[in-house]
């Protein structure tokens, strides 16, 4: 989850997010090297004594500093395009979870096998327990089996919202009258947090998303328990 100390990407819980993190780190490393090089050149300009009044041209160096940036850009573009296409890969999901954004809570539906619907409200700060994360914990979490492809269908009931979980690299707008699909796979068990990412009124900051990743056996028991309620 994001804390005040999170300067770079959060630890990923999904293979696609892992790849996004790697691309980010790769591109940032190239940028850092360019910045250090330019910074060094500019700093050395202050302290060097090079002086040549009759400078007219330097064809070789001009060739180098034209071709070299093109090569650097190729090094950035190829992994980027590879990941861009990887994100659009077709996959067959195991479970479909629907989420509907309301003002100001999310409701979730699991209708593949049993008709399970529930609302997910943020736990207010005055009702918080010691183990809760302030403004992030909810009363009912979405449970999902790990190592399984999950299809998430996101829509809204009133105004625009946006459903996101940063550790999964997922952010998708919830638009009234439209069903947006996003597919992901969780690598590990755990509890993952996100917050509504499209301004939707007074309590836009107070409608978080909490996803709990559990083993398939536990998921089936959870479905069974929820369908009895």
């Amino acid at each position: 989850m994001m804390t005040w100390k999170t300067l770079m990407s959060p630890d990923s819980a999904s293979p696609l997010m892992e790849q996004l993190t790697f691309l980010h780190d790769h591109a940032l490393m190239i940028l850092l090297m360019i910045t250090v090089l330019v910074g060094y050149l500019m700093a050395s300009l202050f302290v060097n004594k090079f002086n040549y009044r009759y400078l007219l041209e330097g064809q070789t160096i001009e060739m180098i500093w034209t071709i070299l940036p093109a090569v650097i850009l190729i090094f950035i573009a190829l992994p980027s395009l590879r990941l861009l296409y990887l994100l659009d890969e077709v996959n067959n999901p195991l479970v479909t979870v629907k989420t509907i954004g309301h003002q100001w809570y999310w409701s979730y539906e699991y209708t593949d096998f049993a008709n399970i619907e529930f609302d997910s409200y943020m736990i207010p700060s005055n009702e918080m327990e010691d183990y809760h994360f302030r403004l992030l914990d909810v009363d009912n979490r979405i449970a999902v089996p790990y190592n399984s492809q999950i299809r998430m269908i996101v829509t809204a009931a009133d105004v625009l919202h946006s459903w996101t979980i940063p550790t999964l690299g997922v952010k998708i707008d919830a638009t009234p009258g439209r069903l947006n699909q996003i597919s992901f796979l969780l690598n590990r068990t755990g509890i993952f947090f996100g917050q509504c990412s499209e301004i939707c009124g007074a309590n836009h900051s107070f409608m978080p998303i909490v996803m709990e990743s559990i083993s398939p056996e536990c998921f089936i028991s959870w479905i069974y328990n929820m369908s009895e309620i």
Partner: protein
Amino acid sequence: MTETESSPKVVASVDVKVIEEVTKPVVAEVKAPVQEEPKVVVPLVEEKMPSLETAPFDPRFPNTNQTRYCYSSYLDFYRCQKVKGESYKPCQYFKKVYNSVCPNSWVEKWNDQREDGTFPAKI
């Protein structure tokens, strides 16, 4: 000279042995709980729940917007039922899809519209 040459080799082999000893019990511990879990849960699974299955990927709707997938499946189910009759089992595929993909509020609204005769499409 010989002492300094031999000492790195001795240290390396000790490290490998230590690593092997450390990982073996960890692997053994991990295996035990995995063997226990299915025994507890399997009776529940077999008695109560079906296998995990959902609406498959439809190449007619490969992109993010799945509104048409939901709406088409809903229409296809009721049209299939009207043409083939209520007891025709293959129509249930469309019902499974629209139940998985469409929000319940949309399905209820369309059901009410069909009963009132105000449903916007022809079935």
